[in-house]
């Protein structure tokens, strides 16, 4: 893409889904820190989906999805089972290919990147924890054989596992422990975009809080996080943007306040509150704009309840 051009789809997507103001325009080629500065002073890095469609033969899973999954933010994708959320995530590191449209990473179409480099920059942690080595330390080193024991320990700690796990047998791990080892293994390659498919499906509240903290650190460090989850509490705690994938369309469900600002509204249950405590009080703004929720408009598994609660609490907040 030449650097003077604006991609209408991208600009629209970014405006439509993340609330970034202004024209999103020229991206520099290449990745990392070379993302272009946008006219009105906001950086947009990360992933942009342009009119993405996936279909198998005659059956369209989804069509014409345009969205931005920007760096520095955690975007949660929610929706009923079987609408293609996992497929959407697999498009991001080219484990799957869209039937139409294209995906940009820092402004560069991902099909133009070396696919191995892409997969290191966009780290997908699959839903089902799949361990391929015998002991944990080797497992974490699969993508980075050069890691020292100390580095592996640090990664395990970030995933919420104590150092006693270093030499544990992988086959003896519980589902939740395996899920966190997979997370540490994915973090080892230092992805710029962290893509998590149901990261808390096997985790208890404390472990989920550790993952929430890790997500906060990743976005705080300028990385992007994209996650799919049915865990409404977790999504409410960690997500900056919530996108609903349903009926082949992706729509914005909610946008939370800027991190670091006073929360516009807070919808925590006890577990989420503990999660915050575990994070050392760095209160995350959790607000689902009540106006963004049209009751009854969506049925996203457990999400519905939470969004309603959140909406209600947002309203209470404003009234107070």
């Amino acid at each position: 893409m030449d650097s003077g051009r604006t991609h209408p789809g991208m600009a629209e997507g970014a405006r439509g889904t993340t609330g970034v103001r202004g024209r999103i325009a020229p991206f520099g080629r290449g990745g990392g820190a070379r993302a272009a500065r946008v006219g009105q002073g906001c950086y947009v890095r990360g992933i942009v989906l342009e009119q993405i469609g996936v279909s198998y033969g005659e059956n369209a899973v989804f069509t014409d999805i345009t969205a931005a999954l920007p760096s520095g933010r955690c975007t949660a994708i929610v929706g009923p089972s079987g609408v293609g959320k996992t497929t959407l995530l697999r498009l991001l590191n080219r484990l799957a290919e869209p039937s139409s449209g294209r995906i940009l990473l820092d402004g560069v179409p991902i099909t133009e990147l070396d696919v191995l480099e892409l997969r290191r920059r966009v780290g997908l942690i699959p839903q089902r924890p799949t361990l391929v080595e015998e002991i944990v330390v080797d497992e974490v080193r699969v993508g980075r054989p050069d890691l020292t024991d100390a580095e592996v320990l640090a990664l395990l700690a970030r995933a919420g596992l104590p150092e006693t796990f270093l030499h544990r047998q992988c086959r003896e791990l519980s589902g939740g422990e395996a899920q966190r080892v997979c997370l540490a293994r994915g973090l080892a390659v230092r992805p710029q975009v962290l893509v998590l498919d149901e990261p808390t499906s096997a985790l208890d509240e404390v472990a989920a809080a550790a993952v929430g903290k890790l997500i906060g650190e990743h976005t705080g460090g300028g990385g992007a996080v994209v996650l799919v989850s049915h865990d409404s509490t977790f999504v409410g705690t960690v997500a900056d943007d919530i996108l609903l994938l349903d009926d082949g369309r992706l729509s914005r469900l909610g946008e939370f306040g800027e991190r670091g600002l006073a929360p516009r509204a807070v919808a925590f249950d006890a577990a989420a509150a503990r999660a915050e405590a575990a994070q050392g009080g760095g209160a995350r703004a959790v607000a689902i704009g009540a106006e963004a929720i049209a009751p009854g408009e969506f049925e996203a598994d457990g999400i519905r309840t939470a969004a309603h609660e959140a909406g209600a609490s947002a309203r209470e907040d404003r009234e107070a």
Binding site: L116, E117, R119, G123, L131, G143, G186, A188, V189
Partner: protein, 258 residues
Amino acid sequence: MVQGLSVPDWPGVGASVLLVALAALIAYRQRLHLTRELLIASVRAGVQLVAVAAILLVVFRHTGLPGALVWVVLMIGIAGQVAGRRGAGLPHAIRSATIGVAFGAVITLGVLILLHVISTQARVVVPVGGMIVSGSMQATGVALRRLREDARAARPEIEARLCLGLPAREAFLPYRRSALRTALVPTIDATKVVGLISLPGAMTGLILAGVEPLTAIRYQIVVMYMLLAATALAALAAARVAERYLFDDAQRLVVLPA
């Protein structure tokens, strides 16, 4: 040596038909519903062997080494089809198998001929080539079947490695290894117990034909060694080719039919 051959003459062969009759009688009296099949199989075996003998006679007498090599190439083609069917479900299974068998057979037979281990007479090249192609075929079939099973069952593990930015070859390495192990172990085991548990074909044939055992084993040793090389080379080549077709340009494991 020809004078010393103790091979059944045609009347002898005719007499052995009595044994078929014996088996057919048992099948008939016991109502196994196998009599017809048994008789057809016996006739078919006779006709097939006579036909092959006629062709071999022409090859041995008139075409020399080139004719023998054409015969070996035909065998490679047939073996590729058979082994490829074992890997049915893999993309381009027959092509992978044929390339594997050809690779194992050409190198092994080439080494034997170039180093003058065996003579270039058609009557030597054809049966030795047959043993090599047959061994390569079995190893290739086993390797491809194992690859197909692993490519289906281990998709999550393979994709877990791909997700970490590992190239397809590395992500698939454990499965290629296990396919090769599975393919080679039978040949290695057969090599270990040769002479103790079974008297293999080449040696049996030579002994039956009146050759001294000490002479016969020289051939058998060469046969065992060449089979080790042929199976290893064939399985490796077939696995490498199949692996290339298992992953697309974007280092993705292709979807296999269920």
